[in-house]
């Protein structure tokens, strides 16, 4: 079992540690619901150092990235980032990831890819295998980078306060910049996240993370665990690999057609996912049980006259103060579904995603 460099910070904060994707990670520091409220109302900090980072360098980098991923990386100017997907030839999703244009404006662009912790080894092997025809070099830098997510309406102010010399507040969404903190620590700050709130993800050297964490907490961010991160992402309806998306789902089913750019040219899985889209596969919907405390759990069946489905994630949302869930249902399914749970049948309304949108 591996530990991030922030393990002692978590223990000191009284966090409950659980195994996750081969890592000992904090699931909660106190109450998951309080941590969610902190992120929605002020700010929270998450250790996501277990996530993988792959650097793509060399003249063929753009060509490799375009072939490996579904979004159009040619649109990335220096300092920009985009959400993207890596798919199999049959269109099934191997992982979701963020592609950062990492060079400062070089003639040959290069990229940093941030992938899920649970897939980092297989993703890296896939990327190496499927970019072998390109003039580029891949490096797994996962053990060099720590990654801290500071999220919430006060997150930008908190991080800006730690680096007054840089204009961090001026970094647009899905953009990033290098900065130096007051204590001299070099960091890379990206306006990205996985909570549905504004905020930053801070890349820093593995051993620099404990001091950065302490500074952010001292400035007012609540230490949060993976439990709150999961509730926040379900409220915002961000898919999680292994739940909403996996090798047997294609992007269009999960509402991720917006990151598939067939017009950019060929990429792995392109034709198969376009064919699957035309076939009208089940798609990801929201479910709101009539009983606001009846939480549909992952794997639970969903019954509907148009055909049955399955819950992929469910939780109690403190923001909506009710049970919420996502699940796959036939594309035509509308109105009400039935959830058989705990020996009873609960009615649930089928709704569009997301449950929570910032500013709404």
């Amino acid at each position: 079992m591996k530990r991030t460099s922030l393990y002692q910070n978590h223990v000191a904060a009284g966090a409950r540690i659980v195994p996750f994707a081969g890592w000992e990670m904090p699931v909660q520091c106190g109450s998951i619901l309080d941590e969610v409220r902190a992120v929605r109302q002020s700010a929270g900090i998450f250790d996501v150092s277990h996530m993988g980072q792959v650097r793509v360098l060399g003249a063929g980098s753009l060509s490799a990235v375009q072939r490996l991923f579904t979004n159009n990386a040619a649109a990335l100017t220096p300092g920009r980032a985009q959400y993207s997907l890596m798919c199999q030839p049959d269109g099934g999703i191997l992982d979701d990831l963020i592609v950062y244009r990492w060079d400062d404006g070089a003639a040959e662009p290069d990229y940093l890819i941030v992938v899920n912790a649970s897939n980092r080894e297989t993703d890296y092997a896939w990327m190496v295998e499927h970019s072998c025809g390109e003039d580029c070099t891949l490096a797994d830098l996962s053990d060099d980078f720590a990654l801290l997510a500071v999220q919430g309406p006060q997150a930008v102010g908190i991080v800006q306060g730690l680096a007054p010399a840089a204009d961090l507040a001026g970094i647009p969404a899905f953009s990033h910049a290098a900065a130096t903190l007051i204590d001299g620590t070099p960091v890379h700050v990206a306006r990205t996240g996985y909570t549905g709130e504004d905020g930053f993800e801070i890349f820093c050297a593995w051993d620099a993370a404990p001091a950065v964490w302490d500074s952010v907490v001292a400035a007012g961010a609540a230490p949060c665990g993976l439990g709150a991160r999961d509730v926040l992402r379900i409220e915002a309806c961000y898919p999680l690999y292994g739940h909403e998306i996996n090798t047997s789902t294609v992007p269009y089913q999960a509402g991720l057609g917006w990151v598939v750019k067939p017009k950019k040219g060929d990429f792995i899985g392109r034709d198969a996912m376009l064919a699957a889209r035309a076939a009208g596969l089940p798609r990801l919907r929201g479910l709101l049980p009539d009983d606001p405390r009846a939480i549909p759990r992952e794997g639970a069946p969903v019954r509907h006259p148009d055909g049955d489905g399955t819950v992929t994630s469910g939780t109690f949302s403190p923001t909506l103060n009710r049970a919420i869930a996502m699940g796959y249902l036939p594309a035509s399914a509308e109105g009400e579904a039935t959830l058989p749970m705990r020996g009873r049948e609960y009615a649930a309304r089928i709704v569009d995603l997301p449950f929570y949108k910032r500013g709404s």
Partner: protein, 127 residues
């Protein structure tokens, strides 16, 4: 962890308060609420339902986990805390104030087999 001495405890983390009239009041322990985390859902049996020792009589759910409530004794439910069903989050702050059901015991002597506070603390520390 809070473990009042006057209560009896089950290995499935219910507390039992034996009353002089042959009934028992049940809830879940401080250890249990801490392990569960934020409680968001509680399902309790109706009055009149028979409790069978070692069998589930209800459900308690937190944000992350679903857990059965397991009957520590045989008996019949004579009172249900329906207010707690509407606000189960109170279990996290006051697990021993949050009684769930009152049971008329078939045989109050069965309670002798339950753990004392001291034994329960040792049991939870064994992991």
């Amino acid at each position: 962890m809070n473990t009042p001495n006057e209560l009896k405890y089950a290995t499935t983390h219910e507390w039992v308060r034996l009353e002089s009239d042959g009934t028992a009041t049940l809830g879940i322990t401080d250890f249990a609420q801490h392990e569960l985390g934020d409680v968001v859902y509680l399902e309790l049996p109706d009055e009149g339902r028979a409790l069978i020792a070692d069998e589930p009589f209800g459900t308690v759910e937190s944000v992350k986990a679903v857990s059965d409530l397991v009957a520590p004794l045989n008996g019949e439910v004579v009172k249900v805390n329906t207010e707690l069903v509407d606000a189960p989050e109170a279990i996290n702050t006051d697990p021993y104030g949050c009684w769930m059901v009152v049971v008329k015991l078939d045989n109050p002597a069965e309670a002798d087999a339950l753990m004392s506070a001291e034994q329960y603390v040792a049991f939870t520390e064994e992991g």
